[in-house]
């Protein structure tokens, strides 16, 4: 029994068929709990007033924007090394979710930035890094849609994802060198040095879990769709030959 068993599409479909409803229900429950708790049952911040509550959308979306790329990097590596089709399809399925998360983070950040910093957009290192991440996602998705042959597309996008990861990371440090920022440091850290108040932390963690589960549900759903689409095109090709 190992994780590689589920590289078999049939087994993957059978497993996700059972897992997907559970994940969906859990993610809806966590998101509802976290967001309602966060929006209505937390105190206003003494400086930022009620605008602080957008943090329950902003931080989870931003976290997922980065984690989705990392997930794509891992699945790309698995495809290049072990040639499991499910892995390549999962990377393809994850990219549009990642780009949506990046957009949510950028937009909620802009809405939050207007009352706090007096501007929707500033060329702050963190903001700029997210814009760069957005462009990397766009290139990756565009390459997937440009190539007809699916295996070629999987290979080329995987290589692009590897090289892109290196340069996205490099851009992050380059941007830090280039400009000092307005954005605060990380709101959540494990070593408790600088962190947010407990009243916000628990609902924020619930929201983080909700976003993670939501991503899991969406990526499983989209991967299942990709596998079915692949089967249909295989069937059509077989009909044509017959």
């Amino acid at each position: 029994m190992s994780i590689w068993e589920y590289a078999n599409p049939t087994k993957f479909m059978r497993l996700t068929d059972r897992v997907l409803p559970v994940v969906t229900v859990l993610s809806v429950a966590a998101l509802l709990t976290g967001l309602i708790w966060g929006f209505f049952f937390t105190p206003d911040d003494y400086k930022q007033g009620s605008t602080v509550k957008i943090i329950f959308l902003h931080v989870p979306a931003a976290m997922m924007a980065i984690n989705v790329w990392v997930m794509m990097l891992v699945t790309s590596l698995v495809w290049l090394i072990r040639r499991h089709h499910v892995s390549a399809l999962a990377a393809k399925a994850a990219a549009p979710i990642g780009v949506t998360m990046t957009l949510i983070a950028l937009f909620t950040g802009a809405i939050w930035g207007q009352p706090m910093w007096g501007t929707y957009w500033a060329w702050d290192p963190r903001l700029t890094s997210f814009m760069i991440l957005f462009v990397f996602y766009l290139g990756y998705i565009a390459l997937w849609s440009a190539i007809e042959d699916q295996d070629t597309a999987a290979d080329l996008t995987s290589v692009l994802c590897l090289v892109g990861s290196v340069f996205a990371l490099l851009s992050r440090y380059a941007v830090n060198f280039w400009n000092q920022g307005l954005h605060q440091a990380a709101s959540l850290s494990l070593d408790e040095g600088q962190s947010i108040a407990d009243a916000f932390r628990t609902p924020l963690f619930v929201c983080l879990a909700g976003f993670t589960l939501l991503f899991l549900a969406l990526v499983l759903l989209r991967t299942r769709t990709e596998i079915r689409a692949r089967r249909i095109s295989a069937l059509i090709a077989r009909e044509r030959l017959a």
Partner: protein
């Protein structure tokens, strides 16, 4: 490998088109800036290093699709792939010849165009050094993008979408070299970082590009 390099250089010089065009494009971009922002020499002096960097970057982008496209179409690339020369070496030589015919002339002409934009005194040398340090990265990353899009019918626009994000770190560090020098600040970090990126792409990008080429030749 040397023969390969000489062949590519000869093709680039004699077939016309690619070589002079990127220089002309660079000149036109630089000429357009005063039209766009106004002829005020103070403003131009402030933005000159950045404009020259972006202009050189865009000009070297123009000829990227020629790196592999012609050889791919007439089958030369298939022969090179089965030749005893490793494909990584082929990629490295092709990127090098692209740099010699595009990046190097752009670097040489950039200080001249600096006059047009009223580049501050003392920035000319740094502009030259920074482009010399950074432009090889453009050619090598561009060769990677060209290798990925070589099999596509209309890959040109996609090629720029893939390659331009990869140029961001080089552009940031490279244009900072001159900007910091103009402001009288220490630019050693930026220079070291730019050289590091160029050497890094020189060492590792040929492997990724050769991998992409093998996929496309399959």
């Amino acid at each position: 490998m040397i023969a390969m390099l000489r062949r590519d250089l000869a093709l680039a010089f004699r077939s016309g088109g690619g070589f002079g065009l990127s220089l002309a494009f660079f000149l036109i971009v630089v000429m357009f800036v005063p039209f766009g922002v106004g002829p005020d020499s103070g403003v131009l002096a402030r933005i000159a290093p950045g404009i020259l960097w972006i202009g050189a970057l865009l000009a070297s982008l123009l000829s990227l699709d020629r790196i592999f496209q012609l050889d791919f179409e007439d089958g030369t690339l298939d022969l090179l792939a089965v030749s005893p020369l490793p494909l990584e070496g082929v990629v490295a030589m092709k990127a090098l010849s692209h740099w010699l015919t595009t990046g190097l002339p752009l670097t040489l002409i950039a200080p001249l165009l600096g006059f047009l934009l009223n580049l501050p005194e003392g920035a000319y040398g740094w502009l030259f050094v920074s482009l010399l340090a950074g432009s090889p990265a453009f050619s090598f990353l561009g060769a990677f993008g060209a290798a990925i899009t070589v099999g596509l019918k209309r890959g040109g626009l996609l090629l720029s979408l893939l390659v331009l994000p990869l140029y961001i770190p080089t552009l940031i560090f490279g244009s900072q070299i001159t900007t910091l020098a103009v402001d009288g600040l220490d630019n050693a970090t930026a220079l070291a970082a730019t050289v590091a990126i160029s050497l890094f792409t020189f060492a590792l990008v040929p492997f990724a590009a050769a991998l992409a080429l093998r996929v496309n030749l399959r």
